[in-house]
């Protein structure tokens, strides 16, 4: 059988420790999702419409999104019919397989940061209020400086009380320079100063924080566009990365966030934060499906090293952990 076995082989071979944290983070949702699928298999003697309806509900509970669920379940139905499967216990492979194929969708899924071939690389972080932008920047700055690069962060959230101080604490914690403006000042000016300083001090990477904004606030989105323009003026190829920070608990609004932010800036990837809770951000499947924006990083906690590259195989392994090990 397809992908399912592949994952199993690959992961069983890997050291348990390597996956421990990832899986620990994903544990809760996996139990909910895969437990339910298993439970479902146990409850149904054969695969019928009722089975599929239940399966739909299970996926909806994981925030995958109604239309996406209908798509996934549709494909599973076709596959089941093709292979003439009637035993619910055999369907697990197909469920996992389909989720993987739909996510991948023959696209490039790089989780590496697209560094400029020479000169300064600019990373712009965007997202709604409270998604976890500032915390992610702290962790990302740590990660990149561990690679031996010189990082500067720009405190572009001049709106929220305490946001500048928050980034300042993170900058000190991970040992990178920070460029700050005044609270209530023009964020574009901060970004401009930071760009200049980064060039003068020959930094490799500049990470720009921005204020959280709901995607339906036109003037705030315009402000973001302006920052983008300023970056382009100084670094023509920049920003090399614009990362949309999405809280894993986000429901269907995640799609609207991705759509609206994409209109303003070219979103190159998603950082899925707060993955250490019970919500597992099934919405990223829908976002990938509709806008082809891949997840690049996942946030798994509040410590400096709690940011990991998104690994689709591990993600799906996590989601279906019980299925793999239960067999």
């Amino acid at each position: 059988m397809g992908f399912f076995k592949q994952v199993k082989e690959k992961l069983v071979g890997k050291s348990a420790k390597q996956n421990e944290k990832y899986v620990a983070g994903l544990d809760k949702s996996n139990t909910t999702l895969s437990d339910r699928i298993n439970e479902l298999a146990a409850r149904f003697r054969e695969i019928n419409d009722e089975y599929f309806e239940e399966l739909e509900n299970i996926l909806i509970m994981a925030d995958v999104g109604v239309s996406m669920v209908i798509k996934i379940v549709g494909e599973i139905k076709t596959e089941v019919r093709l292979q003439n499967i009637t035993d619910p216990r055999l369907i697990n492979d197909i469920i996992v397989d389909k989720m993987f194929v739909i996510y991948a969708n023959e696209s490039v899924m790089s989780t590496k940061i697209n560094y400029a071939s020479e000169g300064l690389t600019v990373i712009l972080m965007v997202g709604v209020n409270g998604a976890g932008k500032t915390t992610t920047i702290g962790k990302l700055a740590h990660r990149i400086s561990q690679e031996g690069k010189k990082v500067i962060v720009a405190a572009g959230d001049t709106f929220r009380a305490g946001a500048i101080d928050q980034l300042d604490v993170w900058a000190k914690r991970v040992g990178v320079d920070i460029v700050k403006g005044k609270e209530g000042g023009d964020p574009s000016a901060v970004v401009f100063d930071a760009l200049k300083q980064a060039q003068e001090s020959q930094a490799d990477v500049l990470i720009c924080d921005t204020a959280g904004r709901l995607q339906n606030k036109v003037n705030l989105m315009n402000e973001l566009e302006k920052m983008n323009r300023i970056i382009k003026r100084v670094v023509p190829d920049g920003p090399q990365e614009t990362l949309l920070v999405v809280d894993a608990t986000t429901g269907q609004n995640g799609i609207s966030q991705a759509v609206e932010f994409s209109k303003i800036t070219d979103i190159t990837g998603i950082v899925l934060t707060k993955m250490d809770g019970t919500a597992k951000g099934g919405i990223v499947l829908s976002i990938k499906d509709q806008l082809n924006i891949p997840v690049k990083f996942v946030g798994l906690g509040e410590q400096v090293d709690d940011l990991q590259e998104f690994d689709l195989e591990q993600y799906i392994y996590g989601l279906c952990k019980n299925l793999v090990e239960g067999q």
Binding site: K28, N57, I60, M61, A62, D63, G65, V66, V128, N129, G130, A131, G132, T135, G138, F159, R160, A161, G162, A163, I164, D165, Q166, D168, V169, W170, R173, E183, L214, Q215, N216, K217, V218, N219, N222, D247, T249, T250, G251, Q252, N253, G254, S256, K274, D276, G277, T278, A279, G282, I283, E302
Partner: protein, 464 residues
């Protein structure tokens, strides 16, 4: 605003049914399927949807559809009533009778606890004349204490903080004594955001609870949250027995179906909603209004209250009298427009008007720009011209256009618009302003005088 898409979906479904003469089990079924999908897409929890559909179906089939009402309307009413019930029935306010009233704010990271704490402090200072104390008990997130301190400065509300070196429990303990000494009658404790599965941190909350003995434990929930909202609400409720919820970021375009889930799952009311980034963007949660909005019935009551808050009655009556005596000029129109602007962004107002939710999206910046343009043109006119625009000849127009830096078309546009408003007013001036006849729902700049009429209507409502 929130619930937009849900209301649109329900509206189109209901339209299908309202066209039909009879409620049959088949078309009820069809409608309920649509409602189910709409609710799921709006992030209402799956279990809640299931229950909702079941009750609605039962009532719809059992309902007496014979009578003067169209069956479609019966179904609308059933769905509406169910929604109101699901949303909590009636308004639930925080009581400030005990002194001191202790409020504890809890929730996940990034849900908006600190901002909401500030908003509540402002609200009760202004509305109830209280003397609140904010307590900074988030010792984990970098600069969380600073954030609350800055908010306190902006609001002129004292903040009790001990930095981050002390445990949250001892900070709260000291804050309680401090509040007593300084005669604070409301204590708002801002706790750190935490995951509901983080046992040690959840224990910290339980400890704070036993120290502070709060009257209210409010769970702050982001309205963007999806299905997981039930796990979060359930866990916090199990551990702390929360007394209410605050739904934040409702000014976004999330459908906010989580509102429907919280009450259903935890049986606690939603007490406040956060509707913007400014510190006064907080409101009580009105289940009936919310249900109205979900169904696209508009929210006239909110609109009227808003109008009453900002509208200058004298100014309006003056304009009304001038209008009746046929003296309405450009200055009056400008004054009306400026008053309208005080109501806030146009798109927000329009959404409260029945039948309006289906309007295409309005760009608030555009309407703001237009108002500025209008202002600049009118300010470039002489007093005489403003009083009686009919004297504005071509050469005058050219002078005005040059004066304000706009082109001739802009001036013409404004004059035409003025003519239209005047026409409308002529029609209106024949009416008694006290009858409160409904105005045709025209948004934008033609609103003149309307607000006053709505107010009258509202007063009548209250008498009932």
């Amino acid at each position: 605003m929130a619930f937009d898409s849900l209301s649109e979906r329900l509206q189109s479904t209901l339209k299908k049914v309202s066209g039909q003469g009879q409620l049959t089990e088949k078309n009820i079924e069809e409608m309920l399927t649509e409602i189910r999908l709409a609710l799921l897409e709006a992030d209402v929890n799956y279990q809640v949807v299931k229950d909702f559909i079941a009750t609605t179906k039962e009532k719809a089939i059992g309902a007496d559809v014979v009578g003067s009402l169209k069956p479609g309307q019966v179904l609308v009413k059933i769905v509406h009533d169910e929604l109101v019930e699901l949303l909590g029935g009636s308004v639930s306010e925080v009581s400030f009778d005990t002194s001191p009233t202790v409020i504890m704010m809890v929730g996940l990271q990034g849900s908006g606890k600190t901002t909401t704490s500030g908003k509540i402090a402002k609200l009760i200072t202004k509305k109830y004349g209280k003397k609140p104390l904010l307590v900074a008990a988030d010792i984990y997130r970098p600069a969380a204490v600073d954030q609350l301190v800055i908010l306190g400065e902006q609001l002129e509300v004292p903040v009790y903080e001990k930095g981050t070196s002390q445990s949250a429990e001892s900070i709260v303990e000291e804050a309680m004594a401090y509040a007593k000494e300084n005669h604070h009658d409301v204590i708002i404790i801002d706790t750190a955001g935490r995951l509901h599965i983080d046992e040690p941190l959840m224990q910290e909350l339980a400890n704070i609870k036993s120290i502070a003995n709060p009257d209210e434990i409010l769970l702050v929930v982001d309205s963007l949250t999806g299905q997981d909202i039930v796990n979060v609400a359930q866990s916090f409720n199990d551990k702390l027995a929360i007394t209410g919820a605050v739904l934040t970021k409702l000014d976004g375009d999330s459908r906010g179906g989580g509102a429907l889930s919280i009450r259903h799952i935890t049986n606690v009311p939603i007490k406040f909603i956060g509707t913007g980034e400014k510190l006064d963007a907080i409101d009580l949660f009105y289940p009936d209004r919310m249900a109205d909005r979900i169904l696209g019935m508009g929210d006239v009551v909110s609109l009227v209250e808003k109008v009453q808050d900002v509208y200058d009655e004298k100014e309006t009556m003056k304009a009304f009298n001038r209008m009746q005596s046929g003296q309405f000029g450009l200055d009056d129109m400008l004054a009306q427009m400026q008053q309208l602007r005080k109501l806030g962004p146009l798109s927000g107002i329009l959404k409260m008007i029945p039948g309006m939710p289906k309007m295409p999206n309005i760009n608030d910046e555009d309407s703001e720009k237009r108002l500025k343009e209008t202002e600049s043109i009118i300010f470039s006119m002489t007093k005489e011209e403003r009083r009686d625009p009919s004297i504005i000849s071509l050469s005058r127009k050219q002078r005005i256009a040059a004066g304000c830096g706009k082109d001739l078309q802009a001036v013409n546009r404004l004059l035409k618009q003025f003519d239209q408003s005047k026409q409308m007013m002529k029609k209106m001036s024949g009416l008694d302003p006290n009858t409160g006849m409904p105005m045709p729902g025209r948004g934008g700049n033609h609103f003149v005088g309307n607000a006053n009429r709505k107010k009258v209507r509202h007063k009548k409502r209250k008498k009932k």
